[in-house]
Amino acid sequence: MALLEIRNATRRFGRFAAIDGVSLSIEAGEFFTLLGPSGCGKTTLLRMIAGFEKLDSGQIFLDGRDLSGIPPEKRPVHTVFQSYALFPHMTAFDNIAFPLRMAKRPEREIGERVLKALGDVRLAEKSDAYPRNLSGGEQQRVALARGLINRPRLLLLDECLAALDAKLRVEMQIELIDLQKELGITFVFVTHAQDEALALSHRIAVLNRGRVEQVGEPSSVYGSPRNRFVADFIGHISQIEAVVRESAPRHLRLEAQGLEITAPPMKSAVAGEKGIFAIRPEQVRMGLDDITDLRNHYRGTVESVLYRGDVSLYKVRLEGGALMEALLPNTGRTFGVNDEVCVGWRHDAGMYLNE
């Protein structure tokens, strides 16, 4: 039995369904991420798990117990809010002690546990500081310690890294992974940042318009997106409209804007149907001469170069007019705008999507 089981959860606001028949099961000890653009319903779903939002239909089970009718304060689920929601009239110590005091733990035990938690998040010195005197990263760590101190069955994290600057964010990401591994508490993390989701999660659920588009490990949602939305939302991807010419068990032959493309097979593809050929920029190779060792190779012209230091992202206009992106390390040969090049990719790279 999964730790958290969401069955067919639905929440409507008027005619608009914020959450539309979502089913998910999250295992104990998992770092699970709800990923999606703003307005996709991920925060609503989080508030449903916490108990702040009711379900119009469906059920949520925690440890096999139906949570309906159980108010937020009685659920063994704690939340780290986007804006942290630290109590401004309490010191870091008192903020972290709050859940233990609500649980009526003896003061001595509270003292010991809070001091240890402060040490764990490297804030031992800041015990008596008020939130307004803490930096963003420190407030974040107090909020995290406060959410974890009473060892909830589930910790919900609502875009809680969004307010930090880029460098601190990476630091906090590493800290989050370590903390989760050490404590073994199940994390449900909400974010719209796909790089963050890929870096942190054991599994990701991609949400769009209140529905789950795909659930899987980071490598599977990135490597084999189920549909165009997932492919487009996670990472960079080139897309070309394509028609299926031949659907064989071991490969797919596509015609896309005058190009003949051999792509990995797809069971549901039928000869004659229209769809999309999509490929990640890092799967594309590029050179001045023909790349004849690859089944798919075409001539094109470099239209733009985005230099990123370690890598460059090239936009290449292919002979049939299609636009293809290629991500190449700057250690090898580099190209300039208007260079006549040849691009190619393996026959098992890229994918055909008809959804």
Binding site: V77, A85, H89
Partner: protein, 286 residues
Amino acid sequence: MNERLEKWLLAGAPTLFMLALFAVPSAIMLLASFRYPGEYGGLAPMSEGRGLTLETYRFFFSDFIYIRVFIKSIIMASLTTAFCLLLAYPLALLMSRSPQRRRNAMLLLVILPFASNFLIRVYAWMLLLGPQSALNRIVNALLGLFGFAHVQLLFSPFAVLVAMVYAHLPFMVLPLYANLVRHDPLLLDAAQDLGANSWQRFWRVTFPLSLPGVYSGSALVFIPALGMFVIPEILGGTRDMLIGNLIKEQFLVARDWPFGSALAVLLTLSVMLIAWLAGRPGGRHA
């Protein structure tokens, strides 16, 4: 340089206003309290070898009757403040958690009584509490039912307290509301999420965060309530004299200006003392 001049010009007018109408009269009053009373009222001239004296203050402390008026006034002002707080807090809380449009309507209702004359509103309480009033009759009917003797509501400390609370209530509601309306509702969600029930959410989050509002509201009620003389004069009995009445009497009836001034100085000092006690570290957690 120019900016400094601008600042002085801007601050100059209000500073002069305060000096002329507050500091100078206070100084005159302080001085008057150390002078001798004139033969036919007012102050005795300084020229006749009768300079300054502590006699008036000695007189005040020599008779417990005056100190008792002070204590009674402080108790009355404290009760007024306490009842105002008890009544105003739920109202301010309700207002701050209402939708914006209803909030403004409620705010208007709180301020509306100021649109009518203060004296008229106090006299209205005479009718409401008078012997022929429905309230007085109901109270006495109930008391009669349980075999108690009849009471008169009007001209009693009760009438004074009711009217004092009524008159000062808006001064408690407004600062409390201004504080409560600024609270981040997310803090209550966070508290609930971390295991606090509604009672704990109020006492652990809402109330401590509202303390600055409680303090300023209490000051706005307590200080004028301590010096109030109109309400006890109209609604109180002959024995319900407060400091305000005593001071007024010294100036207008007894014509003992030094004693009236001394009473006013002592009133100011007690307000300052109480404010200092409340503001001490440990006396306040804001």
